[in-house]
């Protein structure tokens, strides 16, 4: 592990918040080597985590219970997976669903029969169950029916499944919610904060998903073996690696980004710091060659990314069209010490947003020694406390300096207050409604920070006219409804990357950008929006396999090099059905 604190103090150039925190740019981010799936895989390999199967009790249809044990240097955990029959009619990605193909939980410590019994009675019920406090993660997933059927059939017939199926849909299972932090009785995040295994944000959730991927492979192989004991084959390792886990996400993810500004600040700050450190490096020819290689890989990956969403398709196409120019630029420009800064400046002038951020992701990829220590800084103390003795006039200055973007809008204009956010009675899911048209406006969630900042600024400006020497607390005693936003402004004023600079009421606001922001930090690939409000993505596609982890890899750099995975080929040829059949 690299210790950031032991390195010389360098202050890389950081991009300004008005550029970075603009919603469309955030919605153009790609996963990077600091994304949570990547850092988890590195941590597992570095610390020699071992995964073993302690129960695999499935019937001929793959239904039953499986338990995987994870041994780390610091502790032992178990993932318990319940697979059950599900009718096609009941297979929904919505949070309001009540049954799933598999349900699972990651448990701290051992699982004895009494805990297993408690879990069997509650985990399949998910939100409707009462979960055990030793569960760190609770989740569920549904099958991709077509992939599942194709994979079991092909393996049972003794041939490899067609990898193009995974290029279209990169998984056998798609999770629809992965709960942590005390939901439905499971362990609070506070329990993990001092854990050497899971103190990084969302690392326990990512492990739970990674183990589901392993189970999905074992399950289809089991079903194929049962169907054709003589003919069935196991999946080719290249194909296994190309298999990820899907996730379907909707508006439920959006409030997190607004309600955790200190955490978002930390995530974005680490990414920007990584970028700043990367572009400060004077490149050598090997760096140049590596960036060209990574750009070509990303280009091929995006060419292979399938989406029916017109807008995302256009964005992918624009990136694909732009990347050959990037390669040409890289091949032709002299190897100056500030070459990466030149590249960034050129990119900002000429490339579409997603291509710009892709290049930034790849620049970060080049310098593990410089940036990987940042992965230990992605967490944050999220408390926000009032500064009651601050002079009110100082607060006014803070707003005008750091929240000028929020003061600029006229929130009475119809397009500026078009949407309102609310919680539906259906499992308390967040929704967007059209103001003055749809019911529920009186129960609006206060998610749009910009109009609240503007309102507080107006009120305190009036208060200051009569009370020019007032303290913040005196203002709030007369106007307590502004306490929350004032506390937030005070807490966030010195942290440039915490606030997403957008009016979440605005007609042109795209919720998809909010979802992608968070998903990119998770490490999602294959963004496949199904509308402007929900998206399917893939996690861990291309990631090393459990058996490769268990083999304790000696070359960690090679083990870690799995971003932008490509459709597998065998002997330089696509691994198509026909080829597989001939081989069989």
């Amino acid at each position: 592990m690299h210790d950031l604190d032991s390195q010389p103090r360098v202050r890389p150039f950081l991009r300004p918040a008005e550029q970075v925190m603009e919603l469309e740019r955030l919605g153009s981010l790609h996963a990077s080597r600091l994304s949570f799936v990547r850092s988890l895989v590195r941590q597992m390999a570095r610390q020699r985590w071992q995964v073993s199967c302690s129960r695999f009790d499935l019937d001929d249809n793959g239904h039953g219970t499986a338990i995987y044990r994870v041994q780390t240097p610091h502790g032992r955990y178990h993932e318990v997976i319940f697979s059950q029959p599900l009718s096609d009619e009941a297979r929904s990605d919505r949070v309001i669903a009540e049954a799933w193909d598999v349900t699972f939980g990651l448990v701290e410590g051992d699982v004895d029969e009494s805990l297993l019994e408690q879990m069997a009675a509650n985990v399949p019920l998910q939100e409707a169950g009462r979960q055990h406090p030793r569960l760190l993660v609770l989740s569920r997933a549904n099958r991709s029916l077509r992939n599942f059927s194709h994979f079991t059939q092909a393996l049972a017939e003794g041939r490899q499944p067609d990898p193009t199926w995974l290029t279209k849909v990169g998984y056998l299972y798609r999770t629809t919610a992965v709960y942590g932090n005390g939901k439905f009785g499971i362990a609070d995040f506070a329990r993990l904060q001092d854990s050497p295994d899971f103190k990084r944000p969302f690392s326990a959730q990512m492990l739970a998903v990674y183990l589901l991927r392993h189970f999905s492979i074992a399950q289809v192989e089991h079903i194929a073996q049962v169907q054709a004991p003589q003919a069935a084959v196991t999946m080719d390792p290249e194909l296994r690696r190309y298999l990820g886990i899907g996730n379907s996400t909707g508006l439920g993810m959006a409030p997190f980004l607004i309600n955790h500004p200190k955490l978002i600040q930390q995530w974005v700050h680490c990414r920007e710091q990584a970028l700043g450190l990367a572009i400060d490096q004077p490149p050598c020819e090997a760096d140049r060659a590596r960036l060209i290689e990574l750009t070509r890989r990303a280009l091929a990956h995006l060419e292979q990314t399938v989406t029916e969403n017109v807008e995302q398709g256009e964005r992918n196409a624009a990136t694909v069209a732009a990347l050959p120019e990037v390669v040409t630029w890289l091949e032709q420009v002299p190897l100056d010490p500030d070459m990466w800064q030149q590249l960034m400046a050129w990119g900002e002038r000429t490339l579409p947003l997603e291509a710009q951020e892709l290049i930034n992701t790849l620049l970060i990829e080049l310098y593990p020694l410089q940036v990987d220590a940042l992965e230990d800084h992605m967490g944050a103390d999220e408390r926000m406390e009032l500064v009651p003795d601050m002079a009110l006039v100082r607060l006014k200055q803070l707003i005008e300096t750091h929240y000028d973007w929020a003061l600029a809008e006229d929130y009475d204009a119809p397009e500026a207050c078009y949407w309102f956010w609310y919680r539906s009675a259906e499992k308390e899911e967040p929704r967007l409604g059209v103001r003055y048209t749809e019911p529920g406006q009186e129960k609006e969630m206060p998610l749009a920070m910009a109009p609240r900042v503007r309102k507080a600024h107006e009120t305190l400006s009036r208060f200051l006219e009569d009370n020019p020497r007032a303290l913040v607390v005196e203002f709030l005693m007369a106007n307590p409804r502004h306490k929350e936003i004032v506390r937030r402004i005070q807490a966030m004023a010195d942290t440039p990357y915490g606030e997403i600079r957008a009016n979440l009421w605005h007609r042109d606001m795209k919720p998809m950008h909010l979802l992608r922001t968070k998903l990119s930090f998770f490490g999602a690939s294959r963004f496949d929006p199904k509308s402007d409000r929900w998206v399917r993505i893939t996690l861990f596609q291309g990631a090393p396999l459990v058996e490769e982890l268990n083999a304790e890899p000696s070359n960690l750099a090679d083990f870690d090099d799995w971003s932008f995975p490509l459709e597998p080929r065998v002997n330089g040829m696509p691994m198509t059905d026909e080829l597989a059949v001939q081989q069989g």
């Binding site: 990605d93 919505r94 077509r146 506070a190 409604g433 409000r533």
Partner: protein, 255 residues
């Protein structure tokens, strides 16, 4: 049933929002109840006892200032719960103590007083020594003293029976807060009056309670939990075709 800290805090916040607390007040009040409960101080029982009272309160009633100078403020809570009335009063004391080294805040006419401990812990976390005390009018007269050392998340707590009641004693429905930048203000018995210690909780008792709560979950009363859930539904909007249309994924998602 057992719940997690996050669940308890989350449900209380939604229930307070359902009771028309402003967003910040709802979050602070929820933190106060959850803090009490996870330290074994029966925050939910206190909330349960005061819930009907809370529901009758006027959400627009502000705590008013009866007297205010650089060192001292006397406030009128208008009989409201400390969940609604106290956090800014405490912050006022914090601001005064920061400016002058020591401050005294008296909140007259407030309710559910023991819940104020949850907010005082936040001030202690910000480096302030804080002591609160109040008297309950029942016989024998009891006095509760709660003292937080600066930067300690848990207090020392004492409850005394006061057998020798001063003649000028008045019915007491207020709280006295003493805040000091640099002086520990922990409970101690140095008075000539005859006191009987009814209860004593040390910092280590409370920390052990907290650890247990996070490891094993927090026991809550089912009936109160259901009541809070019902209050929390007040912030929800009934599902409609419009809300379902905007929800995202379909009800059948085979791929």
């Amino acid at each position: 049933m057992k719940v997690s800290y996050n669940e308890l805090q989350g449900l209380c916040r939604k229930a307070f929002s359902g009771m028309e607390f402003e967003e910040g007040e709802a979050a602070d009040a929820a933190d106060m109840v959850a803090w009490m409960q996870c330290h074994g101080l029966e925050g939910l029982n206190a909330l349960g006892r005061g819930l009907d009272h809370l529901l009758r309160e006027d959400p627009n009633q502000l705590t008013s200032i009866l007297y205010n100078d650089g060192d001292l403020a006397v406030l009128d809570g208008h009989g409201q719960s400390v969940l609604r009335a106290s956090s800014l009063a405490v912050e006022l004391g914090f601001a005064k103590a920061r400016a002058r080294g020591l401050a005294i805040i008296k909140i007259r006419r407030c309710h559910n007083r023991q819940l104020i401990m949850g907010y005082l812990s936040r001030l202690a976390g910000r480096g302030m020594n804080v002591t609160a005390f109040w008297r309950n009018a029942q016989m024998p007269l009891t006095e509760q003293v709660v003292g937080f050392r600066a930067n300690s998340t848990v207090p020392e707590i004492r409850v005394y029976a006061v057998h020798e009641v001063p003649e000028e004693n008045e019915p007491n429905d207020g709280i006295t807060l003493i805040l000091a930048n640099h002086v520990d203000l922990l409970p101690a018995m140095r008075s000539d009056y005859h006191y009987e210690v009814l209860a004593r909780q040390s910092e280590s008792d409370l920390l052990a309670c907290r650890e247990r709560a996070f490891a094993e979950g927090i026991e809550v009363d089912d009936a109160l939990w259901q009541r809070l859930k019902t209050l929390a539904t007040r912030i929800l909007v009934e599902a409609s075709d419009a809300s379902r249309d905007g929800a995202g994924a379909g009800t059948r998602d085979n791929d």
